[in-house]
């Protein structure tokens, strides 16, 4: 922390520390709810608050029962031959949260691949200075991020019920790809800003085909932007529930949809256990994106000291 200059008056000194305190409180407001979920998910009682036993750190107040419930909820025979091979098979086949997770991963990964491929290609075109109607097209491509999800979902509901895409994986994947595309465009065009076009011109001059130039020159340089765009797209899909509610079939559960149902119907600390896992997941994602960002800055030589 920088030292206060010698000319600060006592009043300014008091204000400075008050200011730091205010900032600390705001930071607390930002992370406290997310971090509080973690200890609460180990509650032995079906409550959403800390019990007396938890506050006194009595081991009896804590349990893994809600994590256990994630696995066993929906299983045919959760109590028979626990941890045996058949038990795991049963969990893999029938556990509702695992079913939702499988769907979320299938939809998320497919939507990410689609969004990243189309988005990267378009971002390369958009970052060329000679691109016609650049601003208008950019405005259209970014708009799925701005237009309220409820409008997109309503439109898709009408469109899909006419075209037979309702209740299909393809339909959900296409919708989620659309929602993820703005993020890919934004991150990739941001990386392209620092891109030195003379490199690809040199490669072309030396006889490389455009595809080789993309594979050998462009892609490695913009890769950090592409990957962080892909992560954004994945998270968008992994967290999306409105479109799924509107166009998916009843058995096409995803994790957020299952959470949504759980919160609306029988709210149990299992939700908190799932939330804890998701928080850990987002910490991992955050770390990856930060590493990528620094790497990209280093590659482009604009790394601050």
């Amino acid at each position: 922390m920088a030292k206060l200059p010698a000319y600060t008056t006592p009043l300014e000194r008091v204000w400075h520390y008050t200011y730091l305190l205010i900032c600390a409180l705001i930071f607390l407001f930002l992370v406290a709810p997310i971090l509080l979920v973690m200890p609460l998910s180990f509650n032995a009682e079906p409550y959403f608050t800390f019990t007396q036993k938890m506050l006194t750190f009595d081991p009896a107040g804590f349990s893994m029962r809600w994590y256990d419930n994630i696995l066993t909820h929906g299983m045919a025979a959760p109590e028979i031959m626990r941890w045996s091979k058949n038990w795991w098979l049963d969990a893999w086949e029938n556990a509702q949260w695992l079913h939702a997770a499988k769907n979320s991963v299938i939809i998320g990964v497919s939507a990410t691949i689609l969004a990243t491929a189309l988005g990267t290609l378009a971002a390369m075109g958009l970052s060329r200075p000679e691109m016609p109607f650049r601003r208008a097209i950019m405005g259209l491509l970014i708009s799925p991020m701005i237009v309220p999800l409820i409008i997109t979902a309503t439109g898709l509901f009408f469109f899909y019920s006419k075209t037979g895409l309702a209740h299909t994986y393809i339909g959900i994947i296409m919708a989620h790809a659309t929602l993820g595309i703005p993020f890919v465009i934004i991150t990739v065009t941001a990386t392209m800003v620092g891109f030195d076009h003379s490199l690809s011109r040199a490669a072309l001059n030396l006889g490389a085909t455009p595809i080789t130039v993309f594979r050998e020159i462009t892609l490695p340089l913009i890769l950090p932007g592409v990957i962080s765009g892909a992560l954004f797209a994945f998270v968008t899909s992994f967290d999306e529930v409105v479109v799924v509610l509107f166009v998916a079939a009843f058995d096409q559960q995803t994790i957020p949809r299952q959470m949504w149902n759980g919160i609306r119907e029988q709210i149990s600390p299992t939700i908190l256990a799932v939330a804890t896992i998701l928080v850990i997941f987002s910490i991992l994602l955050l770390t990856t994106v930060e590493i990528l960002r620094r790497r990209s800055e280093k590659l482009r030589g604009i790394s601050p000291a």
């Binding site: 509080l36 959403f48 075109g125 097209i137 009408f158 930060e290």
Partner: protein, 421 residues
Amino acid sequence: METQSTLQNDAPLTAADGTPLHKALGRATRRAKWRAFLLVFPLLIFIIITFAIPIAQMLYRSVNNTAFSDNMPNLVAYFANNEVTGVPGEDAYAALVADLVQAREAKTIGVVATRINYELPGARSQFTGGARKAKKLEAPFKEALIDVDEDWNDPHLWNVMQRAANPVSASFYLAALDMKYDDTGNIVRAPEKKRIYVPLFVRTLWLSALISVLCLILAFPVARLLATLPLRYSNLLMIFVLLPFWTSLLVRTTAWIALLQSQGVLNDMLVGTNILADENRVQLMYNQAGTIIAMTHILLPFMILPLYSVMKSIPPTYVRAARSLGASSWTAFWKVYFPQTIPGIGAGVLLVFILSIGFYITPALVGGSSGQLISNEIARHMLQSLNWSLAAALGGILLLIIIVFYWLFDKVVGVDNMKLG
């Protein structure tokens, strides 16, 4: 001097293959334009299919409802040939009875009844009841039908039916704006007590504005701290901002449910520290307070990040110069530092405002009834009351509001200047 004049006198410059240079250049730029456009083309098509067409379809739906016109062919034909004012004669009733019989056999009477019921509450039972008896009715149909139910003699009903016979109508937009046609076909506002949607739009805009201001108040000090601290500290503190940003919306909403419930952590803390008596637990959730608190938390990173990136580019020397020229710390902040942050404030406030107008999940889970926003009403009409045309009309108005602010955002910030993280 001499070389220039010789150049001017010479034949026009040509490219290697002999074409004039300006033509060759024009062709090359055209080709480059096409090449750039072709890269964007696949995505453009994709977005048009999965985004533009569905929204166009929603807008089409909002002005086009064929529930009546598809299922009542005789009446539609009658209205096409006759202008009805007041209650029509026997011909119209004959067509109506024939249609009622058909609609009952085709099991579409419910659809027709619902369509009329939107504009004439109570008409549903009148239609289903009339259709049940229609088969046994004999001419003269006018008297026979009015015998079944007095309401068939209502000139307003005929007015509504005549409008519904035309699939294209503005009635759903009127309903979405709390207006309707009166008995004589003029557009009037609904009675004060029955106005639902305009107050809801107003509430949505007002809560969004409030949340934007709250976010700004909370984001400003934090963003300034992050921008002025040495990088090794600010990178660390940045995690506090980015962790919520990357955490699932549902997780954050769940966390607030755990915190704000009347038996939740916050109330328990207040009771435990004897600030609050056990019987006076504060209701922080399932009302507007819940919506405001949770949405402010969820949208705060969207305010901090643009503010931070603007503040980062403000050189600290300006404030120091102001101080050394004798300005008090407040004057230096207010006259020198603050004006330079305005682009960031504009970007952040507009972004948060636009995002909060469309919020659905959080108000639905923590908002109770007083904290619902317009999106929740659209979802209700889509999933529960199944009045899809009204939902589409509400969506159309919401879209218009969003477009206005998106356009403003583009003017102030520029969509191509958006940054993430």
